[in-house]
Symmetry: C2
Subunit: 250 residues, 2 copies
């Protein structure tokens, strides 16, 4: 399969994720020559935790989840990968995470690290492209940290929806097709599935979102999702900023 084709053919058998082809903004184009295109079935493992980090990847279509299994058996998803997102970067010699395809239509491009690095050495464009991809991964991770760091589950789910809305649709449409199950959302947000479900129900009852089926929703009140504070049942946080009296400066 040609990599260009893989990109333009972006088409999602699961019928969920990216109907609109969120235009792989990253996709290491200057590395095309090294790319191996791999179509994946749902649940198929792409990277294994602990295995040597010999390949960098880029999602061409579909979706993938990067995750870690904790000692207690819990799974923590540490990145949701959509078309254009790169992964497989590791500071050490081995992957310290696993990655698997979420849906059947998922296609990724793999780039042998060694050869990619050599190419980067000789071609600044490649080098910059990889750097940019790493910076974007950094940015995604920071976003996730900010979401997971929120106080209530309602806020977490709310900001998750906004994040997905921003990443899935080029225009900020109100319609969002969640690419993942409640379980995945739960493990991404580090809360229980039940809580995710309840939060969604809650948002629905408040008229903040509207659902059509379990995976598609429409944002009715963006502001409510945005500040999160308006989602609080109670008072409007008169003590916000308390932490900083002493923490922020000095």
């Amino acid at each position: 399969m040609n990599i260009r084709n893989a990109l333009t053919t972006t088409e999602n058998p699961a019928g969920q994720a990216n109907a609109k082809t969120p235009s792989p903004q990253s996709h290491l184009k200057n590395l095309d020559s090294l790319a191996t295109v791999v179509p994946c079935r749902r649940g198929q493992e792409i990277c294994g935790q602990g295995r040597p980090a010999e390949t960098w990847y880029c999602v061409l279509s579909g979706a993938a989840r990067r995750y870690v299994i904790r000692l207690d058996g819990r799974r923590q998803i540490v990145d949701l990968l959509l078309p254009g997102d790169c992964f497989g970067f590791s500071a050490g010699g081995d992957y310290d995470f696993a990655v698997e395809a979420v849906t059947d239509g998922t296609v990724v491009a793999g780039y042998p690290r060694r050869r990619a690095e050599m190419l980067a050495d000789s071609d600044p464009r490649v080098s910059r492209e990889i750097r940019q991809a790493a910076f974007e991964a950094l940015s995604r991770l920071q976003s996730q940290l900010l979401i997971v760091g929120r106080i209530t589950a309602l806020e977490k789910v709310g900001s998750f929806i906004l994040e997905m809305a921003a990443r899935l649709s080029r225009a900020s449409s109100r319609r969002v097709a969640l690419p993942v199950s409640r379980y995945d959302i739960a493990d991404y947000l580090a809360v229980s599935v039940e809580t995710v479900s309840r939060s969604l129900t809650d948002l629905k009852h408040r008229g903040v979102i509207r659902m059509s089926g379990t995976r598609t929703l429409e944002i009715m009140d963006r502001d409510a999702l945005e500040d999160g504070e308006s989602l609080a049942h109670l008072a409007p946080a008169q003590n916000a900023g308390r932490y900083h009296d002493t923490a922020q400066l000095r």
Copy 2:
């Protein structure tokens, strides 16, 4: 001030962070020619959120915190920077975070991004060094996400201690000098200060750690901190892995 001096002179007026000079493993050496060494006072801002991302930085000594202020006034620390750690990477044109020095002895090296990129274009060693620094930032962020994603505060605080122990001391000594206040820990873990304090007290009472002063502790029972499960008051999680029955695969 010479950059080499800054590095070897690493000495901490606050007397906390890195008595043992955790050997800046990163530190963009091949970029020394561009470096501007900046000594900072505690609380001094190094990067401002929203300002153009024109400089990359590396901590030479002391410590810094990278953070974001939320709409509700809360602060979320999204990276703790110790000697050798680089920051200032941004996918967009502006910093989407702020960074400030934690202690008085903090010294950072600043590298003009534009010029650094040009140098990277012509020198693969520079390019690799920057890439490596970005990968390390990625790794730190993933670690933090895993810590923040834990269930109980006791586990969060426990793994925070382990993380600090690993990053502060070259050998895995049992002695840890926390470089930051309880407030900083709280904002790093996304819990309240009170909870951090209580967790620490709890760990102390259980004999897992021993404290000398408020900022220095000794790890007495590493295993207890490690699995975190043994910290649970109750049953040994017979239902661990529940999520994955359906979530992990298919």
